[in-house]
Amino acid sequence: MTAVDVRDLRKTFRRFRRREGLGGALKDLVHRRSETIEAVNGITFSIEPGERVGYIGPNGAGKSTSVKMLTGILTPTSGRMQVLGMEPFRDRREYVQHIGVVFGQRTQLWWDLAVIESFRLLGKMYRLEPGRLDERLGELREILELDEFLHTPVRKLSLGQRMRADLAASLLHRPRLLFLDEPTIGLDLMAKDAIRSFLKQVNERFGTTILLTTHDLRDIEALTERVLVIDHGQLLFDGALDLLRGQADQESVAVLDFLEPPEPEALRGVGDWVRWTRLSSTRFEARFSKSDRSLARFLGKVVADFAVADVSLPEPSIEEVIRKIYQERRPEREVMA
């Protein structure tokens, strides 16, 4: 059975536009002007059980609206949506027993209570027998290192600890599908790594399907095999991470360190197909299309003409890849990602 099956999903909001100033407020009382926003504009995809999928797009692309529909918080305007064989909004109470949701920016634990007490309350909400709860905690406490703060009130936890506690809380009822919204936001590198490897373990051990929204593309690189890119409410890309990366590989990038500052004239002399960017007095970045020249020929020419100290060839970052997809499809629009 498919874990997530979404067909032509749409969500339209009507927003009231407020006019400025006191006069505007009075006019609004008489007649409110509204506008229709197509937050999600017909997306179709499916996710198989056990997949780890990254869901990315700029702010306001329709990401969180679609996640809210998938988690049963919002009802779709139209389209078909089957998750774990259920309709999230219609079967909400039953459905939410089978999913876990983690918001990086918000805790779902009780602020004043010790972590363990929050877990116990959640255990009661999900109707777990006490023995079962202890068993689940036993599995989680070691990999998430919960022991150090199990008896600390949530408000006194560090951000990294809070995130670990929230992750544990979302897994107590052993959901089959885990939604993560910015799970590593604000964490230091070590903590980010710990969270990523933990999620991978959960996926591998329990077969938990993971859908991850993030702005940190290293989350995507570390965790997911498949990426959905959304913008303006539409799906721009659905496929393997490597494939997404491949799309940006039309261009070669090289960063060169010269022994002494090169003459701008001389740089231009390499060829008009190269775009140079000055990074420092002796460090320059060169970009050119693969169809124009091969990297080897470019390097051959540069090394022959200049005294080069070092060359590095940065792999295109996903930020860049996504920016390229946006630019190709919507050249008229400024990119926010």
Binding site: R106, W110, R174, G207
Partner: protein, 287 residues
């Protein structure tokens, strides 16, 4: 457990929070009874804080009582009501208000905390009824001091009035005080439900909140329009005044005296309807 974890949707190890109303109610009581105990423990763990809070809340209650005493230094009675009669009304209202402040205070802050700050999303993600989650999500234990003071005032007033209190009267008083608490909760539930429809902070709750004190005085001192409102629109008159007239045996209101529980139930039904309407709206609009 691999494959096992992704088989059919219905063989989850956790028992669903669905089923007959009785089962659901019991489960709700179990969860929130435990939460109440935890909150109490947390408050008691910081004894100094706890007693400071308690003292502050108690002081607030006592200050408003002082006003009643000062008022009657100048006048022997207020529109035909003696000080001790008013104290009886006042005390009953304080008990209801203390319960409201402890249990249902969340409703007063609902728009801000749940809609504007977005906590309602979390509520939607839990397998428990949305209303129970909001109503019981926090308990303000110190507010119970208001109940204690109220009980003291009621006892004082009864003694001064030399009321002969039978078992039936006590039962009647208990029902009245509970009804008062339910009326407060229902009214503020309806106001909370409005937050689902308006994105902005709307300033309706604070004025209504201030009207609570109107219910602490004999309704006969108010103009008839306000009296009508306090009876049938925002029924704070039923919180303490009308039931107290029953205890005092003041005949013109005898009929209204026993109405409190009915008014409470009616407003609960109304509040439930408003809540459902609001949640449906939330599901379809989002914020």
């Amino acid at each position: 457990m691999g494959d096992d974890a992704v088989s059919s949707p219905l063989d989850s190890p956790s028992r669903p929070f669905v089923g007959p109303l009785g089962t659901r109610l019991r489960a709700t009581v179990e969860v929130y009874g435990a939460l109440f105990v935890q909150m109490l423990k947390v408050r008691l763990a910081y004894k100094a804080d706890f007693f400071a809070d308690l003292a502050a809340t108690a002081l607030g209650g006592l200050a408003s009582l002082l006003f009643v005493f000062l008022l009657f230094l100048r006048a022997p009675e207020l529109a035909g009501w003696s000080r001790d009669e008013i104290l009886l009304i006042y005390g009953m209202s304080m008990i209801s208000y203390g319960l409201f402040g402890c249990i249902s205070w969340n409703l007063y802050e609902f728009g801000d905390r749940y809609i504007i700050q977005g906590q309602f999303d979390r509520v939607m993600l839990r397998p428990v009824g949305t209303y129970a989650q909001v109503l019981f999500d926090s308990f303000r234990i110190p507010a119970l001091s208001e109940c204690l003071i109220g009980a003291g005032v009621v006892a004082f007033a009864m003694q001064r009035l030399e009321l002969v209190i039978s078992g039936t009267d006590l039962f009647f008083a208990a029902v009245a005080v509970t009804s008062g608490f339910v009326i407060f909760t229902a009214v503020f539930s309806i106001l909370a439900s409005l937050s689902f429809h308006f994105e902005d902070r709307i300033g309706v709750s604070p004025p209504v909140f201030n009207m609570i004190s109107f219910g602490r005085y004999p309704q006969t001192i108010f103009p008839s329009a306000l009296r009508f409102v306090l009876r049938w629109v925002i029924p704070f008159g039923f919180v303490a005044f009308y039931p107290a007239t029953g205890l005092l045996g003041r005949t013109p209101y005898r009929g209204l005296a026993v109405l409190s529980p009915l008014v409470a139930v009616a407003f609960c039904v109304l509040a439930y309807g408003f809540w459902r309407w609001g949640v449906r709206r939330y599901e379809s609009t989002g914020f």
